[in-house]
Symmetry: D3
């Protein structure tokens, strides 16, 4: 399925932290920068996310803000 | 001001498209990957965004989904 | 690609309205209820969305509120 | 109060999972499809959500993505 | 209908700007601070929003970030 | 860093509740109205948020809905 959220950044899972309801996923991008994703525990489990997995961080463009010094 | 949204990806503005209400900002990240941000026209104007600007794409972690092949 | 956003409601595209930056997509669900999606114009064009297309309305669970009478 | 979020899908609460901060609410829609909502624990408690409640899943249109095979 | 989004800030509509797809609503809060809301044009029209209207700015708590000097 | 999210409401931290993954921050605005923010535990810790802190509640305009009686 192709999805309208065009922001899809390739990376590797560095950490998977499962809480009761939510889960925090740390993804290292090709630049070495880290991206934090918060999804539900059930989503993390159903995707069977593990350290070392190749994933995409998917972000709807209306959720991306811009910061400028 | 330090902000709770820890996802702050460095990049360069490639394109600024202003509509009546919204604006689409294309940011090239250090990897060469492109990120699309949609903010209001007024925000883009008040940040005086121009092609070539160094910016950060700022994303709250609850807005980041994970995709896995 | 499997995505962490587990809310994926099947429907048929009823209307595609393209603006300069954004696009409004009207999706009729199996119940006959209508769902409105706002994505970027570029996303709508790159998905080649047309009336009659079978699609999924994809929604991250942190974006779903609950209303109760 | 009428709210600008026009996506309001009728359903029945199937499950309420309360965590320390967040809560996961499983809603069965008229089609039998399931929708997952994540709200705060306090919101779930203040709405006194229980299995069997008739509710609406309320979603702002800018949060709805489109997927197409 | 009571909604799970508990952030509901009272204010007065100062400006309604209608675009082709989106609309920008400027709300003055009791403190005199201004809040900008972006909803769809159709939502603004269906709520018949006009300058001077008493409204509530409704925000899901997962969408509120914190900034600290 | 100036950020595109122009909604920045001044307030004082009333409560900080830390969960395993998420944190709930209660902010009292100048009007006495309360605003609830849900961010990650790590964000709350890295901002060293404490009761009595002066903060800004930062909200992207596409996340603000309007309610009208």
């Amino acid at each position: 399925m192709k999805i309208s959220a065009r922001n899809q950044l390739k990376g590797t899972v560095k950490e998977v932290k499962l809480g009761a309801i939510m889960a925090e996923i740390l993804v290292e991008l090709a630049t070495g920068e880290e991206l934090v994703s918060v999804i539900t525990r059930n989503s993390a489990v159903s995707l069977d996310l593990k350290v070392g997995d190749t994933v995409a961080a998917v972000i709807k463009s209306t959720e991306v803000m811009i910061g400028k010094e």
